[in-house]
Symmetry: C2
Subunit: 328 residues, 2 copies
């Protein structure tokens, strides 16, 4: 790992679709949550003492025309390098599923229309998230994977030039990417999910840690709606990618737990989430899965949960070598 | 020219900021014009007999939930390859000029904020233009130059991987690009104008012709508000890039006309427009500068003005070798 390029990236954060949209209401953002998330991201990226000026100077923002130029001053901004990736939630899902765009066939009229319609939906959400972050003073820039030229082959992510993302980070900007529809070398087109993008970026950019912001406290041993559901606090990932629950020690399991995939999560259940997290943790990068807009998410975003206390609620997924080390 | 790659591109069209926005009203689209332009583009791209279904399936579009999947059928869509590039008009200008983002210095708080604010403004316009085209059934996809990873060095356009644009065309999609702020290797950041993007794409993709849609009939010998202004109908460009007016023969000039740069055009006057057009025409690519939403623009978009009739009103800029040929 020491030989890989160091982009100085502190954190990749996933804004889960369930956290920033109302999943069951077509194209409805969860503005309350989004505002909380943006505020916590500002604190994690810019520092708690920094109170900068908004960077969305659109007509719809109040006082956009006042003479604010002098307020910005000329002191250097000392911000941490973050990359934000968001899911689609209730944006894009209808358009994608109605057209079957994930199955390819871009030459077919319905699929082509669905490709266009899905991109309109997810890029409109991306613009609103960039606006929310910019309003907090985070120098966020939308970078749409399709426009980045990222594509797949046989639905596997193969071709992604990350230089534009790396250059944006290097320039002090915060790239905001999203799950998107992209061209596929063999089937024409497909869906590239935010989770797959995060895995790839983590491999290439080697952040110190990765945070998944979701709508529940973390990963449970059964659907979180079940009153007996137990929050998994720490998961250890072996070098071969297999994983086991370290904390809490559950009586009914040996090494590996069978996780019930929650029906509420149509883009891949908790099992998928752990598998994705395990792929990242295997690289030696700690992953925190945590509820958006809580004290726990703020701690995670700041990277202040390396020693799990009982007060911190969330799921940490990390390399088993690290777990052993911290437990000794 | 015969040795350059043929991407099968029929036309690059510039939607001038003056044509699609109200230039003097902050962030106000000219929706009437935009709708006319979208309709004419549909006819030029998809053919006059084609009446496809809208491709914007957002919440704000009526009947987005009805079961329309079967309506699309499975016949192949026979569309022409177009690239659309639009200017910013009253979007982005305020944010860019207030922060001086064209002068660079992305490490300065005001410039960084202006970079973010300008991108929000121009990408919000881009999304609306993609929506307008998609609503007409044009398979349009927004491709933001910054997200494409395009950058400049010393304010000159040097680094642009056009493969994503070429791949989109090849997949039957219509890329929609725009003037943007981008990273600059030497000064940190700058503005990349739509006109510069068009010149580069024309060089690389070799379209059959290029159309500039504007808010006046074409290029005049003085500001078009002057009642004595004369519309220049044909301009010939020599191999060295110098140009002269072929039609009409103006009594007060010899070979080269001195064009007054209109004060109404802050992004570069008519002189700039002719110089940009001449750079493209020099490559053997005809350029039509024409008023958006008129019979003349429809003819131009369809490429049906190769022999200029007196009925067609607009400015054609083309290689002098072609002019001599057509005049014989």
């Amino acid at each position: 790992m020491a030989e890989s390029a160091d982009y100085g990236l502190k954190c990749i954060v996933k804004l889960g679709g369930a956290a920033i949209t109302h999943k069951h209401e077509f194209e409805e953002r969860n503005n309350e949550n989004l505002s909380l998330v943006a505020s916590q991201l500002r604190e994690a990226i810019m520092g708690s003492s920094w109170h900068g000026h908004g960077m969305d100077w659109s007509k719809r923002i109040e006082n956009n025309h006042k003479d604010f130029a002098h307020e910005f001053g000329d002191q250097k901004i000392d911000s941490s390098a973050f990359v934000v990736v968001h899911g689609a939630g209730s944006f894009g899902h209808f358009q994608a599923s109605r057209s079957g765009v994930h199955k390819g066939g871009l030459h077919l009229p319905l699929v082509r229309a669905g490709f266009v319609a899905t991109r309109i939906s997810v890029t409109s959400l991306n613009l609103e998230i960039v606006r929310a972050l910019a309003s907090e003073g985070i120098p966020s820039v939308g970078m749409s994977p399709f426009a980045c030229g990222w594509s797949t082959a046989g639905r596997n992510f193969t071709d992604a030039n990350i230089s534009q993302v790396a250059n944006a980070i290097d320039s002090g900007l915060i790239p905001v990417l999203h799950g998107d529809v992209v061209l596929d070398n063999s089937q024409g087109c497909t869906i590239l999910s935010g989770d797959v993008i995060i895995r790839y970026l983590a491999q290439q950019l080697r952040p110190h840690y990765v945070v998944f912001l979701t709508d529940v406290l973390g990963v449970y041993d059964r659907p979180p709606s079940d009153p007996n559901a137990i929050l998994l606090r720490e998961i250890a990932v072996d070098e071969d990618g297999s994983w086991s629950i370290v904390k809490p020690m559950l009586p009914h399991m040996n090494k590996q737990v069978k996780i019930t995939v929650g029906a509420h999560d149509t883009t891949g259940g908790m099992m998928t989430k752990i598998t994705e997290a395990a792929t990242i943790a295997k690289l030696g990068i700690d992953v925190y899965i945590v509820k958006a807009g809580t004290d726990h998410s703020l701690k995670a975003l700041k990277g202040e949960v390396s020693n799990i206390s009982n007060e911190w609620l969330g799921t940490m997924v990390r390399s088993s070598s690290k777990c052993i080390h911290s437990d000794v």
